[in-house]
């Protein structure tokens, strides 16, 4: 939307209303993290700023476009809206973005099938001219998360939107993550230079190896190569698909002497948050005793040359495979990440340690990795309604869970991946509280693009509500799996109980799963986490200097009554001067626009007030009071004077026989 007045500050105050679902609150925080990683937009809890976004559970998912300067600007994340892409979509509206479909040049790229649109819905396919809306010099984006899907607002079974390039027919309407163009537009609109929590990314395709350096004091070197004797044969970024590219860093333990080390250090990095996640792909074709260790070199005034601090040794025996690793860091000063390869014993005369696709960001690391090998084959050769399960993982709080994946979908959903999260318990488990309280399990199919900012991973989250009852039973759904689950025997012979699953039959279509880098080298990687979200059951504090937000009444409560009521009750109410009509205690009322030193008021926001008016009013009132007081004083003086004058006149009268 064109107009600086619609821009928010780069850090947006938000208030999460109490009526939001706990899972939605958790996903909203995840969406904020994506904004922080990929853009310069940040979010902070409302602390009394004049304008803020109030996120509530309305009857659907909706937002205004841009900063409306109404004080409390509402954004609804209702039932079924608690998906990260939906939340990012609504916040893009709030930040000032219309749909991609409403671009002025839309008709150059898609054909609207007007006769297939539901009656009365045609106005959803209007375009804005370039005096209202700007494309910011970015080409039309079929992959935008702000694009309608091909069946939007249809009246039958035929698509309403036909892309002029047929290959994009199933691309439009993706609700996975920001596209590159979404991010480019956001960066241009808000003058971003880079993501707030992004630090570095390197796929070693360029000869400068992203400013990384060979460390001092070592005996061997890391070398940029396209293949290595003993493996790997290709890099991980391109998997050898592109001639003349596809490089990675390799430390040859085959040619190194026993005891040799090789240090590869990142460029200087400047942390802001104090916690980081280092992610990289690692190929170990070295001897069984050779090691890869991760250090950080930290700099401060006392240590201008930096101090090396050991973080961890990357475990694992040699494998003919690029493996994904995550390392959590906690650096607070200027630093470098250091990869130390060491040859520590006899081994093969070829092979070594290899690194590729390094990403470093100030985010938390995913906790668990589930790699499904030969995934295309698994998708094509698993019958419908047949699940495969990840190994059970144990969370920090001691709960165990696993992901159940239906590679060919649940019954009735062919061509889909269906995904469910299950709690797990074994016979001897103890110490957990049941039903499991407020743990959010996230299942992410990783887009394995080399650059973290260009990934469009697909994720869904479910949260264990300890009060939730099973649909077909009086049992608590998230109760002890030994009570509400069934016993299973794993491939390794271990036995445990698996609770019922919560998730979705429509996690991702096969078509999308086969797009981008969801499958690389034949494999899919699922990143799983279980986080405690019990802190989100508590009301967000209201700033002491500000008035409390209006409790969501009929408009803000659950179900569909809210916004429907708003639209119906407000049909006959016109709010002037950018006022917005909403329903409060069953009545349509206007909420008027306010600024820092001005405001509108009145039933229809017809009057304008300002700080200047208020001063003038106070001055006029004071002067009037003074004048009235003066008048009263003068009248009183005159009256008293008159009275005494009369008395003096009366004193000439002589009373006789007073003492008689």
């Amino acid at each position: 939307i064109i107009g600086d007045e619609y821009r928010w500050p780069k850090t947006i105050p938000y208030y999460m209303e109490d009526d939001l679902e706990i899972n939605a609150k958790g996903v909203i925080l995840k969406a904020f993290e994506q904004y922080r990683l990929k853009t310069c937009i940040d979010f902070k809890p409302w602390s009394g700023e004049s304008n803020y976004i109030s996120i509530f559970k309305g009857g659907g998912c909706f937002s205004s476009v841009g900063n409306r300067h109404v004080g409390k600007q509402r954004l609804s994340i209702g039932r079924n809206c608690d998906r990260i892409a939906t939340i990012e979509h609504e916040f893009l509206h709030a930040l000032g973005f219309w749909h991609e479909m409403s671009r002025s040049d839309r008709d150059d790229y898609v054909r609207i099938m007007w006769d297939r649109i539901s009656e009365g819905k045609e106005n959803n396919f209007k375009t804005y001219d370039d005096t209202t809306s700007s494309s910011l010099g970015v080409p039309y984006d079929y992959g935008s998360m702000m694009h309608y899907s091909k069946n939007a607002f249809r009246n039958g079974t035929e698509p309403t939107i036909i892309t002029k390039i047929p290959d994009f027919s199933d691309v439009i309407g993706q609700r996975m993550e920001f596209s590159d163009s979404d991010l480019l537009k956001l960066h241009r609109l808000y003058n971003c230079t880079q993501g707030s929590t992004f630090l570095d990314s390197c796929d070693f395709e360029r000869e400068n190896i992203c400013g990384m350096i060979q460390g001092e004091g070592d005996q061997a070197e890391w070398v940029r190569v396209a293949e290595a004797a003993g493996g790997p044969d290709t890099d991980y970024s391109n998997m050898g698909k592109c001639t003349g590219s596809g490089y990675f860093m390799h430390f040859s333990t085959g040619t190194a002497n026993n005891g040799d080390t090789a240090l590869l250090e990142s460029r200087l990095l400047y942390p802001k948050r104090g916690f980081q996640c280092l992610q990289f792909f690692y190929y170990n074709s070295a001897g069984p005793s050779d090691k890869l260790k991760i250090y950080v070199r930290e700099y401060d005034k006392a240590n201008a040359n930096g101090t090396l601090r050991f973080i961890k040794t990357i475990d694992g025996s040699p494998q003919q495979l690029w493996q994904l690793h995550h390392v959590s860091l906690d650096v607070k000063t200027k630093f470098r990440v250091v990869f130390e390869g060491s040859k520590e014993g006899t081994g093969p005369s070829t092979g070594g340690l290899s690194l590729d696709d390094i990403n470093l960001s100030e985010t938390t690391c995913p906790e668990f990795i589930w790699r499904v090998k030969n995934f295309s084959h698994v998708m094509d050769n698993t019958t419908v309604n047949t699940p495969i399960f990840s190994p059970p993982f144990t969370s920090k709080e001691g709960y165990r869970f696993q992901m159940g994946l239906y590679p060919s979908g649940k019954e009735g959903y062919p061509g889909e991946l269906s995904a469910y999260a299950h709690l797990v318990a074994s016979a001897g488990d103890s110490g957990q509280k049941w039903p499991c309280p407020w743990k959010q399990m996230t299942m992410m199919l990783m887009d394995q693009h080399p650059h973290i900012l260009k990934r469009m991973s697909n994720q869904r989250s479910v949260t264990t509500d300890p009060n939730m009852k099973a649909t077909d039973s009086q049992q608590f759904f998230w109760d002890d799996p030994r009570k509400v689950g069934s016993e299973v025997t794993d491939a390794d012979g271990s036995r445990y109980f698996r609770g019922p699953g919560a998730g979705t039959a429509v996690y991702l279509t096969h078509l999308r799963a086969k797009s981008r880098d969801f499958i690389k080298g034949g494999d899919a990687i699922f990143l799983l986490t279980m986080e405690d979200v019990s802190h989100l059951t508590v009301t967000q504090p209201v700033p002491s200097t500000a008035e409390p937000p209006i409790t969501s009444g009929p408009t803000g409560s659950t179900g569909s009554t809210g916004s429907t009521a708003t639209s119906e009750n407000c049909l006959n109410v016109q709010c002037l001067n950018e006022g917005i009509c909403m329903v409060d205690a069953g009545k349509a009322v206007c909420r008027c626009a306010v600024g820092d030193d001005w405001w509108y008021y009145g039933d229809t926001c017809q009057n304008r007030g300002s700080v200047m008016d208020k001063t003038n009013l106070a001055l006029a009132t004071s002067l009037s009071v003074l004048a009235v007081m003066l008048l009263v004083t003068v009248v009183s003086v005159i009256c008293v004077k008159k009275k005494y004058k009369k008395r003096r006149g009366d004193s000439s009268f002589i009373m006789a026989n007073v003492h008689a």
Binding site: N80, N123, R460, F477, G503
Partner: protein, 45 residues
């Protein structure tokens, strides 16, 4: 031993609903499906 086996729970109700479908089911009639307009933005249809 488990008393009974509970069925899985589908958070999407087994349907692949986009934002616009969710809002339509909720009875909302918003601009472009999910945009709240104010007086200045309302377009003459």
């Amino acid at each position: 031993l488990p008393t009974e086996k509970l069925s899985d729970y589908d958070v999407d109700g087994g349907r692949d609903l986009d934002i616009f479908d969710i809002n339509e089911e909720a009875g909302l009639d918003l601009a472009e499906g999910d945009i709240v307009l104010d007086g200045r933005q309302t377009r003459n249809s």
